[in-house]
Every structure is written in structure tokens, then in C-alpha cells.
Symmetry: C2
Subunit: 262 residues, 2 copies
Amino acid sequence: MRAVPKTDLGKNPMPTASSARQFPCERCPLRGFDIFRNFSAEEVKFLNRFKVGELKVEAGGAVLNEGGPSPHFYTVLTGWGIRYKMLEDGQRQILNICLPGDLVGLQSAVLHDMQHSVSALTDMLFCVFERRRIWELYSKQPSLAFDVTWLAAREEQMLDEHLLSVGQRGAKERISYFLLFVFARARDRGLTRGNSINLPITQQHIADTLGLSLVHTNRILNQLSRRGLIKWENRQFRIADRPNLEDLAGWRPPPDRERPYL
Amino acid sequence: MRAVPKTDLGKNPMPTASSARQFPCERCPLRGFDIFRNFSAEEVKFLNRFKVGELKVEAGGAVLNEGGPSPHFYTVLTGWGIRYKMLEDGQRQILNICLPGDLVGLQSAVLHDMQHSVSALTDMLFCVFERRRIWELYSKQPSLAFDVTWLAAREEQMLDEHLLSVGQRGAKERISYFLLFVFARARDRGLTRGNSINLPITQQHIADTLGLSLVHTNRILNQLSRRGLIKWENRQFRIADRPNLEDLAGWRPPPDRERPYL
DNA sequence: CGCAGGATTGATATCAATCAATAACGGTGG
DNA sequence: CCACCGTTATTGATTGATATCAATCCTGCG
């Protein structure tokens, strides 16, 4: 029954889809990273019409709220976010970290109700789509429809891995695993320099992701530091001894090939 | 480093898609349950060609194995199964229970590699599809493509809930929640009688699903029995005091409307 | 300067894992 | 028919990991 810091509770009750469009799809900020697949001219043309705007959310703001339906769903263009669920007593389970290229709010588009929330860790920019038009995508652009399924399947795969971690691994293993996981995802998106990264998450976030208490998380992190496996101060995180960290985590490099996005 | 019983380790290294077709799609055993949506004649016609056969797996047999790709994916027609991942040291995390209507092996169809295994708790019958033909479905039957996404999103939703449970709830709450969850899913498929059900799972399965030890699971179950919330002997399980069990579990009735299947 | 959010540390409590043994049951082979 | 064995369930004793409680400290910032 521990309190979640205010900065993590959404400031925006329900964001309004803004409006100004900085990025036509041809100049999507996601283009140009190796991991993201290229689109055909036709696909880009479709997406340009399918996209209804951009949404900016400031750090700490709410993007989607558990409970209701949402008229929109989004692709993350820039920034970091979290996807989470709350328990009545205030416990929070973070389900995943949201990074550029991730599709959020698909549940609302397909199943009608959001069963989780999304909020921003840093300032974020989203590409906005309309839920009620998702059928257009399925009927007119099967290749993109396939991509949506791909993204859903990949999210499921991450959750599987995550559940394995929380259910079966000890605290050291869980934490090492999670750090490597986040790092790998960030690296794919060009957010790292060598083995270093600017991590916009707190120990509380790690605790809430892994089902550990803040205090215990802190102790384990210090232990990893003292053992020379990682270094983390302020927001600067570094993998100091990758082989041993990977070994401790039981890390299996993800089979991540090229991936789609919307 | 506790051993998983042999009966749960697949006997069939890799099943061969049989063959004889008991059920043309018009007489699919899934039809007729309220929760499953009806298909148009056109959809049924397509599915009849898309389906390449049926697969029978006996209790304890393997359906899909972690690691490789699989040439097929399946819809569960009858029986109970589990979807799980193993750790090197033999720990097993059960990710979900598979019941009629569930689509399994989608990951292999979409992402090329299975990152989890599926095995049968009871004798099972599957409807078999071919991975390499999945594009046909997307290009020719957008409504079914949408259904596939629906199923993936729903699976993700269950995993979210599950992760919340394992990460944040205590053992009593987890177990009560899981029992209610399984019961609700089974009821939708006509597998219950009132508050009773023939449960083909062992305490070990519950333990492996919820990240608890077998011994502890046993104690909690007995505690729930002694408090008069449940009754479970042999395979017969009964919810004896639903209000209090739901209360303990923090149960929120699932928003389950009509759902698709393939 | 003073404050809030975040990190850290020590002491203690508790939940759940582990170790160890036994029991009930069904199947199997001699 | 009985002895044996594996699976599942059960119980007691003990250990261990992690949570909780309570301070303190640090740092960036208004």
C-alpha cells in the first residue's frame, strides 16, 4: 500500500488530439532506424490519410486511462512511457515500457475497453489514429493489418518473457534481466551510446515492474553496482560488465529482426 | 529447481498434422456457444479451405515447442492445454490455460519463432492451419484478419491481468483470482455445471502459473477449503462461497462479450 | 534557503520457499 | 493377488528472501 509519486499520476485527464502535424509520414521520425521496416509508396499514402494528427504529452502526463474506451490509438514517435495497471489499494504493476514504434491503445480499438493505462515518463509525441476507422485499415491495406497483428504478437511475447521473470526468477536475476531488456530495446531505437544510456526511469519504476519493494530493489541495484556489473547515477546508466550481467540474468538475445510499425 | 512431472513433458516431439477431418467448419464443435460469434457463409467457405486438417494430441502430449518455428498454427476445438516457458534450471512458468476457441501458435505464424511451448492437459483436438498461408487470410478475408488481431489482443489482456496478479497480489488473492478466472473461461465454453467443474489441473499447475511453491499452494488451498470458499477433491472443483471468494480475489467480472475464433 | 522527489541504510517482521516425511491412489508386472 | 512405483496431496519444522517501518541524505530547483 505504498504511494506512487505524484509525477506518475497523469496530469492530463484525457488528452485532446492535437492538431498540428509536424511529421507527414514520409518524414516519420521512425524512418531510418534499421529495425523498422520500409513501407511501399502506397502504404505511406494510406497512412498519411489514416493518421489524424499528432499528440504531445508532457512528462508525467496520462495518455490512456484504464476503464473506458478511447476514441484513439497511437504510435509512439518519440519519448518514453509506461503501460500499467492499478489495484484498488494503490499497488501498481507496470506491464511494459513504451518506446518509439510501439503501438498503444490497440485494445481500445479492437476490444472496445482499455484494461490498462499509459502515461509518459518523458515528454512524448504520438501519431494519432481513430479507433472507428480501424476497419479501413483491415479492408484496404492487408499488409498493414498484418503489421498490427505482428505488433500485438510481439507485445504478447514480451509479456510472456516478463511473466516468466516475475514468476520464476529471483530479485537479482529479474533486475538484471529487465535492465538488459530495456537497454536492448532502447539501443534498437538509437537511444544508447555504447553501453551507456540516459534512463528516464526511477528505482520505483523498476520495483513496480518486477513486483519488488523499492527498498529491496535499491539494495539489489547497489549490489550489482558494487560487483561492478552496472553503474547508475543520476539518470546515467551503464552496463559495466556485460558478459557477467548477461550471465546472471540468463539473458537470451532477442530474435529481433526487422519490425513493422504504423 | 523442482522437477516437473513427466506427464507434463511432451510425449510427442512434434506432432504430425493428421489427416482425417471429423469436423467440416459448418459443424465446428465451437458453434453454438453464445460467446462465439457467427460467421458469414463466405467466411465459413474460406475457412473450410484454409483449414488443412485436424490434430489429435493425447493428454500430456506436446503441441508446440519453444525454440523453433512451426509449420502450423491451431485453434483448440476440444480439451484443455497449457502454454508455458521453461528456464534452464527446470523452472516452469505457465503463461495461460488453453481452452476451446483459443488460437495457439500465432507467434510462429507471424514472428517466425515460438518462444513458448504448448502441451495438452487432457486429450485435445485442434483445427490445423498452415503458417505459410496466413497471408491468404489477410489478403482475402479482412474480417477474419481482424479476428486474429482480436484474439491476440485478448490474449495480451489476459497476460496483463495475470502479470498484475503475480507481481502485486499475495498468495491467497492470486489463487482465488486464478480459480475464478479459469472457472469463468470454462463456463463460457459450457464446461461447468452450476458452480462445479471437472478441473484437469493439479496443484503443481497452479503453483507454476502463479509463481508459488507447491507446498505453499497446497496450504493456501486447504485454507480456502477450511474457510468454506471452495471445495476441491479428486478433480471435482466447486466454488462454495462465490461472494466471499470474489471479494478475496478482488474479482472484476470480465467484460467478455461475444468473441471470434478461427 | 527550503523543499520535494528520489536514493540509501538499518532494524525487524512476515510471507513463502525449502527440506523432509508420510499418505492415498492407481496402475503394472510378477 | 500382492508388491512396487510414480503421481499427487498433505503436514511439520526450519530457513531464507523480501516486505515493511523508520530515518537520513542528497540534489536539483524555485
